[in-house]
Amino acid sequence: MSTTVMYEEKPLKVVGTRPLRPDGVDKVTGRARYAADYNLPGQLIGKVLRSPHAHARIKSIDTSRAEALPGVKAVVTRDDFPDMQTEYAAAGELTINFRDVTRNMMAREKVLYDGHPVAAVAALSASIARAALGLIKVEYEVLPHVIDVVEAMKPDAPLLHEHQFTDGVTPKPERPSNLAKRMVFARGSLDEGFKQADLIIEREFNTKPVHQGYIEPQACIATYTEDGQAEVWTGTQGHFVFRAQLAKVLEMDVSKIRVTATELGGGFGGKNNIYNEPLAIALSRKSHRPVKMVMTREEVFRATGPTSGANVKVKLGCTRDGRITAADAELNFQAGAFAGSSVAMASMCAFTRYDLENVRVVGHDVTVNRPKVAAYRAPGAPIAVFGVESVIDEMAEKLGIDPIELRLRNAAKEGTQTYYGPKFGPIGFIETLHRAKAHPKYRAPLGPNQGRGIATGFWFNIGKETSSALHINEDGTATLIMGTVDVAGGSRAAMAMMVAEELGIAYDKVRPVIGDTSALGFNFITAGSRGTFAGGMAAVLAARDAIEKMRRRVARIREVPLEAVAWKDGRGQPAEGGGAQFKPMTLQEIARDAGKTGGTISGHSEINAEGAGPGFGTHIADVEVDRQTGLIKIVRYTIVQDVGKAIHPAYVEGQFEGGAVQGIGWALNEEYVYGADGVLQNPGFLDYRVPVASDVPFIDSVIVEVPNPNHPYGVRGCGEVPIIAPMAAISNAVQNAIGVRLREQPMSPPRVLKAIEAAAGAGAQV
């Protein structure tokens, strides 16, 4: 069973305006409390000992000297956690396996990457805890390792998991391998499609893993009491999902764990998974004191999930007039140390902007000796789309067709059958293409060594379990309890705006608060751009429930039938044609007398939201390439995206701007660099360079609104689409600027220079 609420067009007073965010003043004054800002009386500081090897068998762990150090109160290793069997669960957009979760939080038989946790210590101070780590003796048998995805797929590659036989192939392979899973999404006939083609282009692409790069390192504080109850404060995108994971790996009752989602210092998919939380609880259980654990930036890079690096092969065929007849892709994704990358999502997104008859996408999920990947904003899609949109650009160039026009000739629209399942309802892809084509930036003059690139993106968006409560306070204000974490985009403001619109009261009379896990029923994680879509639907339904109760109250007080009471402009008033006349009651009057007329009024909703609206975007990137240094400068950048409805347009622009700049970082500079020893060489912001203010221009945002029919205000979700197109758009712009096509990311100066030199050496375009 699931819930959808139909869109209705109506005059709006609050939705679509730009009020200040409720969490704003705390954030500009330093008052906002992030996980690392919490302290408890008597707390200890926890630290983690991590593997210095990419791949090794743990022969023994001796913690005795660490335990003997004065000030050390507890040490935990693999022996303090139960082993788990294979069992899958959803965590954000990716699926987790508890057998792997318990091994990732604390190594058992083997360490599988540089930075893999081996032991944890709780001590009176950080300096004592750090000293204790140095006293733990771990005996390793170092094993050969594999970092590269193509290498890892070879039959003689070092093997990470002796029990891993490729899933998705029949018959089951005889030997275990690093290829965890093979998946195929297909429709029509490729042979037929390629036969109809006048032009066939086949290319190969490679991308590097990049990190979500949230500025707040993971932090948590946990306290476990002698009656077996645990309380945790942590920075998470989904505290209910964290609670479920903790209950599982610690073999505790869900009811005995209470998790508070603190203010979140950025996540982007990277805070969907537990890391230190179970260690902190175990250390607290052992030491009988609260334990606080804060990761260093180096730990964040070495041990929390980046997104996959990948190898992508794309083959497209089209007719002379630009109609795509066949689309084939192979996506080889690094999963990191444990199976479960975003390759399935990437496979489903690869071609989905287009209406295609003959499609095949083969996805491979491959384990390598790197940290287990996590979701990163539209997980996997930017990687697949980089390859596909590059080939489409080449196609447009070869056919002499305008790149937007070529896309228009193939664009998905309402009724288009996707190759992974659903048929599209109303979508706004074509609108984004038209608006991009008409945009002045699409015709802005280009200087020497400057070029323009186009690329497009699609993301599903999701719904899922969501609950909310709305309390009508005695003074006529309202408190909204949400269960979806505001991952910083401003969903608290958006929910309060929708509730104010429903109730007919001012925005600042609605206070949105994110409840802890004891305040509401289960809520899925804030992922898949579901916050404002599903959270908003739950908030609207809670408001409608409260309104229903207030109408009943008015009917009883005024002694009229319920049907005679309509809710309008913040009051219960005679319904048109309701047949009864009475003095209207405002929300404030109802609230003031609630105690005497039947008790407190609260609305609730517990739903499984369905009907998330697919999001589409078209990007225009203008670059300038310095032929001497290989530096690519972004001159102009424009995003045109269908969001269904922008509840708070400034926060939608914020998603466009932030997503685009993350994509620019992915395209130009960011990458994990490993040495031959399998050790990460750049675990810091100095050598892992995310974009700074002087690297980027203003981002032009064009908001397109084709309402999602399955949301009361037409919301689709908008946070993930903006990061999908930048890599391809920028690469296409570089080709347009200097006639060199870059198929390796990132397009950092040394790589660009090499490509320019290679092209000059070959005496022709690459």
């Binding site: 730009r18 200040l20 965010r21 969490d23 704003g24 003043v25 705390d26 954030k27 500009v28 004054t29 330093g30 008052r31 906002a32 409390r33 992030y34 690392a36 800002d37 101070s125 300096s127 979500q212 790069g213 949230y214 500025i215 707040e216 390192p217 203010e263 979140l264 210092g265 950025g266 982007f268 804060v294 260093t296 930036r297 991952v487 910083a488 985009g489 401003g490 400034a650 926060y651 622009e653 914020g654 701007e657 932030g658 997503g659 685009a660 700049v661 993350q662 810091g684 912001f685 100095l686 995310v690 974009p691 700074v692 203010a693 002087s694 980027v696 203003f698 981002i699």
Partner: protein
């Protein structure tokens, strides 16, 4: 290991704290003085989230030792507003939606104020280079740059 006694002036108040030799000014502010508005993003001086003013100079407090604060004057985000009156930069950050998660915001505001003290009428490019030591992963800097330019305009009375 003995701790050092440090006396300093923080946001106009005379303060006194004890810290270990290896503790940073950032740790002293956060853990000893409970001024947790200053954030740690990297601990290596690369992200600017811990920006504070030390004797009138913009520093990453993670690169300064706590003991170095002896006798010095420090300004942190907690001292930026004057009572109810937000600093124009704080107000403009709110009005322009120039913050999302907010973890970089205190450091960004301290840096922006230092920039406008040096250069009350910066160009867009000067704002971008002036804030290049402060990483923000949410906003793409667009609205931050707009907010700083707007605050500068207002502060100049233009």
């Amino acid at each position: 290991m003995g701790k050092h006694r440090v006396m300093a002036t923080v946001n106009g108040d005379a303060v006194e704290f004890l810290c270990e030799t290896g503790q940073t000014l950032l740790e002293a502010l956060r853990d000893e003085l409970q001024l947790s508005g200053t954030k740690e993003g990297c601990g290596t001086g690369d992200c600017g989230a811990c920006s504070v003013m030390l004797d009138g100079r913009l520093v990453c407090s993670c690169l300064v030792l706590g003991v170095e604060a002896q006798g010095k004057t420090i300004h942190t985000i907690e001292g930026m507003a004057k009572g109810e009156q937000l600093h124009p930069l704080q107000r403009k950050f709110l009005e322009h939606a120039a913050l999302q998660c907010g973890i970089c915001t205190p450091g960004m505001l301290i840096s922006a104020r230092a920039l406008l003290e040096r250069n009350p009428d910066p160009t867009e490019e000067q704002v971008r280079y002036g804030l290049a030591g402060n990483l923000c992963r949410c906003t793409g800097y667009h609205k931050i740059v707009e907010a700083v330019l707007d605050a500068a305009r207002e502060m100049r009375g233009a």
